[in-house]
């Protein structure tokens, strides 16, 4: 059996009787970059919300490393190693870029950003180094002292990813990371996501933009009308007739 970081099994989610997801199963292999695509309203973000704990599923089970986490709140999932980014930015606008990243580290195993000990310890210095490392990966070193709200939108999205990464997650759930980015920023995003994978973070990307998905993902799951249409390598999935029909409507 494959080594799974996350398994979402037979997830059904209904909103007031409307079915957003119907028995969708997602198996995310450790160390993979797993894309979830589909047209608007296919249930991509709903699935991500269920995996990150923002929505309880109507039915189904979410497992992290084989442990049932279906009933855990997002706050409880963060220390277990599940972090996420948001489609619409949720940064601390008045704080500097670096402070945003530092706050993201708080849940970090054992040490934690907020200890009662007021003086800086060796562990704090380690956290500092890690924060600077996350800033470097996302090309934010030069902006670290800027207030987050003053940065252009694309850079703010990078800050949000850096903050989610700084918690050292096992699993990073990204909700439309490329949305609102310029063409160049999208190009930069691909090697950065790979760099995260190389550091041992399993990544799930919910994305509308097919180019990013096709370039960076190992496995792609295509959703349509709340059901799993197809799953496979990007080349296979995107070449399938069913997917063309779902996207182009012909």
């Amino acid at each position: 059996m494959a080594d799974l970081t996350l398994r979402a099994l037979d997830i059904t989610k209904q909103f007031l009787g409307v079915t957003a997801l119907a028995e969708v199963t997602l198996e995310v292999e450790r160390g993979s970059i797993h894309g979830v695509v589909g047209p608007n309203g296919a249930g991509k973000t709903t699935l991500l919300n269920v995996m990150s704990g923002f929505l309880p599923p109507t039915d189904g089970v979410v497992e992290l490393d084989g442990r049932d986490i279906t009933r855990l709140s997002p706050q409880k999932r963060v220390p277990l190693g599940v972090t996420r980014t948001f489609q619409n930015l949720r940064l601390f606008g008045g704080l500097t870029v670096r402070e945003n990243v530092l706050l993201g580290q708080h849940s970090h195993a054992r040490t934690g950003f907020l200890s009662l000990w007021p003086l800086r310890t060796a562990a704090d210095k380690e956290l500092d180094r890690e924060a600077d490392h996350a800033l470097r990966i996302f090309g934010l070193t030069d902006y670290r002292k800027r207030r987050a709200a003053t940065l252009p939108y694309g850079l703010q999205k990078q800050v949000e990813i850096a903050r989610a990464v700084s918690a050292k997650p096992k699993l990073l759930l990204m909700d439309e990371p490329a949305a609102g980015m310029t063409a160049k920023e999208r190009l930069d995003l691909v090697p950065r996501i790979r760099a995260l994978r190389d550091e041992g973070i399993t990544v799930v990307i919910v994305e509308h933009d097919m180019d990013v998905i096709a370039t960076v993902c190992d496995v792609v799951t295509v959703l349509n009308f709340g059901r799993k249409l197809i799953e496979g390598t990007p080349a296979d999935a995107l070449a399938s007739d069913q997917v063309r029909t779902a996207y182009l409507g012909t």
């Binding site: 997002p74 706050q75 963060v78 220390p79 949720r90 601390f92 606008g93 008045g94 704080l95 402070e99 530092l102 706050l103 993201g104 708080h106 849940s107 950003f113 907020l114 200890s115 007021p118 704090d124 207030r147 709200a149 903050r163 918690a167």
Partner: protein, 292 residues
């Protein structure tokens, strides 16, 4: 003479600035007012005054004790009036913190009596004279301590992990929670610090008038509200400037018009200002750096 009154007014303003900082910190962290902070300042001042006059403690120790009492009272206020009150119910913390204030006043008058307490002069033989202008030792203490506390607060909020967390929670409490920050503990810390500021303000005000009364709590709250509304709610810099302005206005009113009408004149002036600028003199900064 005018210049002396201006200096006295600015010095009075520094104590107002501390209590306004105290209110604004809580506004930043919770978007709520803690109406018991005036009484918190009073209780701390009374305790400090008793330690100074009865036990003859050095001022530094009495001051630290006032900080501790302020921190304790504000922490208890948080638990009693804010912690378990639903965020949707906006008026409940107003009423319950006003209630805590009333309880504090009656507690002090029952236990310690309703007498005014004397705050003895600390620096008797120090005084600065520049021409006709005279600044006595105790005024220097007020100035130095208030400035020191403001700088320490600034450094704490901007340079330490817990300070960063306070600003993060002020900015977006939900997101802070999602990142695993212990939001309630951070808010409790904010209350404790605001209580220390209130305690400092209380004892320093007592030092400037050499007396504290157990009935000044609500008056202090009113003054602080006046200052933070004039300076722009939640705006720290605006609050400090507004505190100086109100300090000067109060002092000039007492010196040249009438002590009886002091509050009336301040309230009317603030009222007129707010008719012209309802958002306060200094508009609220968009970010938390300006707010906290």
């Amino acid at each position: 003479m005018l210049i002396q009154q201006l200096v006295n007014g600015l010095l009075l303003g520094t104590t107002f600035a501390l209590i306004a900082l105290s209110f604004n910190l809580v506004v930043g962290a919770l978007d709520r007012l803690n109406f018991a902070l005036g009484e918190t300042a009073m209780v701390s001042a009374i305790c400090g005054a008793l330690l100074l006059s009865r036990l003859d403690l050095p001022f530094v120790l009495a001051f630290l004790a006032a900080l501790a009492v302020g921190a304790l009272v504000a922490g208890v206020t948080f638990v009693l009036s804010f912690r378990f009150v639903s965020a949707d119910y906006h008026t409940a913390p107003i009423l319950s913190s006003l209630g805590v204030g009333l309880v504090l006043t009656s507690l002090v008058t029952r236990v310690l009596g309703s007498d005014q307490r004397r705050v003895p002069t600390v620096l008797d033989d120090v005084r600065i004279e520049i021409g006709p202008l005279r600044i006595v030792g105790d005024q220097l203490i007020i100035l130095v301590v208030a400035a020191l506390m403001t700088v320490l607060l600034y450094v704490f909020l901007n340079r330490t992990p817990w300070g960063t967390a306070i600003r993060g929670v002020s900015d977006d409490p939900d997101m802070s929670g999602l990142l695993g920050i212990p939001v309630q503990r951070v808010i409790l810390l904010t209350f404790v610090i605001s209580g220390m500021l209130a305690g400092a303000s209380g004892l320093l005000t007592g030092l400037s008038f050499h007396t504290v009364s157990p009935f000044t709590g609500f008056e202090t709250t009113l003054t602080a509200l006046m200052v933070i509304v004039l300076g722009g709610l939640g705006n720290i810099t605006g609050g400090v400037i507004a505190a100086m302005m109100i300090g000067v206005i109060e002092t000039l009113t007492v010196a040249y018009l009438s002590a009886t009408y002091r509050d009336l004149i301040v309230f009317v002036l603030v009222g007129i200002t707010l008719l012209a600028r309802p958002q306060g003199l200094f508009t609220r900064d968009t970010g938390v750096v300006g707010r906290v």
